[in-house]
Symmetry: none
Subunit: 222 residues, 4 copies
């Protein structure tokens, strides 16, 4: 995030006005496409509507992007790298896994309120996205993602070794966290405010770490 702002400032110094404008237009189109894809879905969205939303002509879209598919591809990459970015940040903080997860989910929650289309695009349009991708690009995209997944799985293995987590299959743990948190984030578990969602995150982490079963005599932490 910080770096991104830096980039923007740097733009101002390094790039000409022309180039800065071009970048801004590109982003305008991307934002418009994001809104339309989120609202209508990739296949139902038309370039006409995106162009209108972006307040550009249809032809202009092709000055910045190769085709409709490229628009979604770029958006997905942008959203994905946003996540990768702050996962990277969090992993560098050297705090317990549980707190890392909490931070991550809080960040995601924050995004889901600030960038309303974020999860809608990121989760729901995945299927359309992969279907519209050429095999090459799909492989490229997946491998980047898998690399990132692997980092998280390694972190889980680390937490197991450090005695923070039980000695379970780390991929299964990852799958559980991934699926459950996706569900929580996407449906927001009926939260309307960011604050509400934060407390749900605490409940989620409690359930995840301590289980949902009633303990008979000896209490659990928290």
């Amino acid at each position: 995030m910080a770096e991104f702002s830096l980039d923007k400032d740097q733009n101002h110094e390094i790039l000409s006005r022309r180039e800065r404008e071009k970048l801004a237009h590109r982003q305008d189109i991307l934002d418009a496409a994001t809104r339309v894809f989120a609202k209508k879905g990739f296949f139902n969205a038309t370039l006409d509507e995106i162009a209108q939303e972006a307040e550009f002509s249809k032809g202009a879209l092709y000055l910045y992007f190769n085709n409709k598919e490229d628009l979604l591809y770029t958006i997905m990459k942008e959203k994905t790298s946003k996540i990768d970015e702050f996962v990277e940040e969090i992993l560098n903080e050297g705090i317990p896994f549980k707190e890392e997860l909490r931070l991550f989910l809080q960040k995601l929650a924050s995004f889901s309120f600030s960038d309303k289309e974020f999860l809608q695009i990121f989760i729901v349009q995945h299927a359309a996205f992969f279907r519209s991708l050429s095999p090459d690009k799909a492989r490229e995209f997946c491998s980047a993602h898998e690399e990132h997944d692997q980092k998280v799985i390694n972190r889980i293995d680390g937490a197991i070794k450090q005695g923070e987590l039980r000695n379970l299959d780390s991929r299964s743990i990852y799958g559980m966290i991934h699926g459950a948190s996706e569900n929580m984030m996407f449906s927001r578990w009926e939260c309307t405010t960011e604050q509400d969602l934060y407390s749900k995150i605490d409940i989620f982490i409690d359930m995840l770490f301590n289980g949902i079963a009633r303990k008979k005599e000896v209490g659990s932490e928290q």
Copy 2:
């Protein structure tokens, strides 16, 4: 299930050959559509391909279904009711919630191997499905589903009252189970055999009930 078989047998006795054939053809088309939707997705699938896959003419599809959307709708309803059916069965068995869940997941796992397109259609095509639905049908479909969700949530509440589960928000528990198990089933957590998946289910339930955190001194159940 039992009744369904009965139906089929009764078909043979009650219905004329013409009528039986018509039913069979209808099912052939439905199966073909399921395969094509699973492979290409709803929007990329063409009626040409479905017709070819079903070994019927394109026009024949319209003897059995109103339109493309109707095909997906019918498939989704069929898949949904399959799930509802065995949830109903399981809820009637009067066993602990944990065992109910295990049974449910095993059944789902079994389906995901016998009916290869089941989850692909059920999970991935949801978005396309709802986008392609008229508002009326969408509401109808959702309300049926919500009713079913509510039953499960009530069951969770029951398990809490009986001291089987911790006193947590039942909707959150439901969301967690839902998201995590969807992830497990869909990616199959890298299992290639049904047996493998069964042991993953056990791990899943262990994680879910006992948590993923390392307990310091006092052991956990199971």
Copy 3:
């Protein structure tokens, strides 16, 4: 009309039950087609609907008629010959032209109330009819009609010679009568009962014969 009834009776004596039934079925289909064509128009009418209206299967239509076009052709011929029939009758009565015309219009009026689809089919579907006809059949149909028109024009010439009508171009007189009476019959000049229409016919004939201009003292023609 009378002859037609005779035909029917003769059918009973000459034809076998099979043959009589076949004729009846044929007429049922024709009547159904007439109703549907009148309601929807030739192009919007579907054989499905006609079959349903006739309470036969779609395939059965092809046992009695070659194709959709043939249905309309047969209907048109039937309606046309009905008119030709009573024109013939009237021409044989040896009464003044004005009374012949009155009789003819009364007969038409009577038909338009008893056979509700008569004029709808006869007038409105003309265009569709001729468009759907092969050139050969169109010529055949027209020539039959022209022959009949000629008879009427000859009658007008006769009335001129006998001093009943002014010495005007008989084809123009025919056109005037034809157009005006078609308009009267079809829109019925806002009549709802047959009796109403009869008095409009008297007005029509008055206008036609005496003109619409106010006569000052002695009539001038322009």
Copy 4:
């Protein structure tokens, strides 16, 4: 008429070349559609043929019109308003009704020679037109037409009060004129030149005003 020419000139000054071209293309398509509809009828006409006749692609038709129906609707409105326009003009001239009618019919005759498809479309395609119209648009169209009809009927009433016409039901007079003149114009009463048709119009008006009956000495019968 005069205004229309003015409009065209103004177009040249006010509108950009792009806009002028677009209007011209729109008219080209409209003209092509008119020719095809006149030749084949609405239902038998295909967009393929219209596009070919207009020397545009099929898709281009949809840049200017919503659908096939819209094409016919626009054409009908254009033709109708042409008639309404000069009826309005004539009504403002303050001349006897008989001369108004003559002027009107002459104008119509002139159109039927200059705009060859005018009457073909206007009269013959009426049925198809109304069948292809949504109820809303049909009502809208009819009410506009009825308003115009009413004006003419009021004019007839005026002519009766001024003693120009006999005291007859004005609607019946209107129906008579309407039907008879439609017949004359459409079949042209076998005229091949405009001049011929003009003399037929004189005959028509003579017949209409003075009747077709031979006057013996004074007064009419009935």
